[in-house]
Symmetry: C2
């Protein structure tokens, strides 16, 4: 997409405003994903790192540091750290989910093997910790290691919550905090920390990342049932994989005995037949579960924008605010 | 084994001398392997952590710190960190090796599934980094994150070197540094670092751990062909798994054309028949590969003991020296 459209997407405006920093991040990533001894490592990481991800998470760190007036070198290290953690979790996720495609390309576990994905993921985790120690800032180390623990905990929780109709909205929130919001909020918070901003602003950046990540993930889960042209998702993937996301959790909570039997058969037992996805969509619709989920996503988006009000006015702050709008605008 | 034998094994004397510290480590491990939200996590870790491992690595940290006169609280954190890193790598190793037994019990990947082993391993890695940040010591963070990267790199190298007759002694050394020596040397080095000892002593502790780990791993690999009563290993496991360890690397280097064809068939192509293990043992014997490997293990053991000479006299220093003796005494 071109930047001379009347109004480019917020992530494209962020990418343009942060282009110089992002070049430095990409250079550092390429340098550090190498391995002197084990050529398999850069093969696997290059496959994933060069696959044209949106680099959203490192951009959040760069934007947060810059809007806080940071002029040192370490926002680049932290942005690369965040991308390494993200890449490591993708490698392990694809093993856990037995995925075959990621960003339109075959996954590393398919191209090489699960072993390589597990071990190269471990390597990237270790590299991410090496990178953050270079900042010499103990607080960012705490924030990022806490985030890594929350991510892993959320993934385990998702594993045990899958196919469990007893999954509550609270558990769902913990799962998506681990899956998405924990790294978003760490990414934004560390930007404020290295810029040595007052505690109130650091907390505001954390709150922004947390709410943005939650809004983003709820919207993503909703699109799995909502569909739409540009989503690039297959309608009903989560249903087929028997994942308990917010729309289904709400429809199950409102279900009568017959509906409950339907969810039990399709999600808990995994006995899915022709026409079941259509039936699931009809039940979601009957209980207004899609509408209410959209409303919840919008509330989190609004929380993200409100959090930014504690920060000084800045062009990048406005772009982050637009980004929070954008993640739910897809649900129009 | 009882301590009133004329001379207990060095690791038993270390365990007795460090019993109070080790209790504190075990308490901290139990506290931190818990998870508020995901009960699967403590189930899996308890299975492994309580399985009666020797706690050799945390003991190295405790002994190093204490013989350096350390009186603060953080040797306990660092010892628990080291054990968490070790446990995380075991969980991932068992997935990579498709193992079914560890310490005489079914592995976690068999009892639960590979997914749980991958994700709980990630959780323990993250927890280990949280633990080390609590020490507030940036240098120990660097040492341990470097070790984590070397471990993962060594595992990837082992993966790509397996079944490759071109594997050199240099590559083997890198693999076993990653597999064993990197965590041993980090475990001992951080003990000296938190005790704020002079650089020469810190380096001596590093050199001790490195050489001890290398001697330990060479001896372990040798015992796979050497056998013996108390080893608890099945003769020839590595041969059947087509691993290139030092005895085989040396026998391959000295092989004539016919012998080379044998190694190519059994190790590279994996076409193994009745009587092949006996033939492999005969070839190892013909080229003196077992004897020379034992000699190499003994040289590393001697290097470990020499390194300790830079440290002040201490009962724990003598036990560490005896430990270096012990890991090769098994090869008598």
């Amino acid at each position: 997409m071109s930047l001379d459209q009347p109004r480019a997407k917020p992530q494209e405006r962020l990418a343009a405003a942060l282009a110089g920093d992002m070049d430095a991040v990409n250079t550092l990533i390429r340098e550090r994903m190498a391995s002197e001894h084990a050529p398999r490592i850069p093969e696997v990481t290059a496959h994933l790192v060069e696959a044209g991800g949106k680099r959203l998470r490192p951009m959040l760190t760069l934007a947060s540091a810059r809007l806080c007036g940071y002029e040192g070198p370490y926002h680049v290290h932290l942005a690369a750290t965040v991308e390494f953690i993200h890449t490591a979790t993708l490698l392990h996720d694809d093993v856990v989910d037995e995925s075959e495609k990621r960003r339109g390309r075959p996954t590393a576990n398919l191209l090489w093997d699960n072993k390589s994905s597990v071990l190269v993921g471990d390597y990237l985790f270790a590299r991410s910790f090496q990178l953050m120690t270079e900042t010499g800032n103990m607080r960012v180390l705490r924030i990022l290691s806490n985030a890594a623990a929350t991510i892993a905990e959320g993934e385990v929780l998702q594993l045990t919550a899958a196919q469990d109709l007893g999954t509550t909205e609270d558990i769902y929130l913990q799962v998506i905090r681990g899956k998405t919001a924990a790294l978003f909020s760490a990414a934004t918070e560390v930007g404020g920390v290295i810029a040595e901003r007052p505690e109130e602003e650091v907390q505001a950046l954390h709150a922004y990342g947390d709410a943005l990540g939650i809004a983003f993930q709820i919207a993503d889960d909703l699109l799995d049932y909502w569909g739409g042209e540009q989503t690039g998702k297959n309608l009903g993937d989560d249903f087929r994989e028997r994942k308990l996301t917010l729309p289904v959790i709400r429809a199950v909570a409102a279900a009568d005995a017959e509906e409950r039997a339907f969810w039990k058969r399709t999600i808990e037992k995994g006995d899915q037949r022709e026409g079941d996805l259509e039936q699931a969509l009809a039940l979601l619709d009957r209980h207004g579960a899609l509408e209410s989920t959209r409303e919840t996503a919008r509330e989190w988006s609004a929380k993200a924008r409100e959090a930014l009000e504690a920060l000084p006015p800045h062009e990048l702050r406005d772009m982050l605010s637009d980004l929070a709008d954008y993640v739910v605008a897809r649900l129009a």
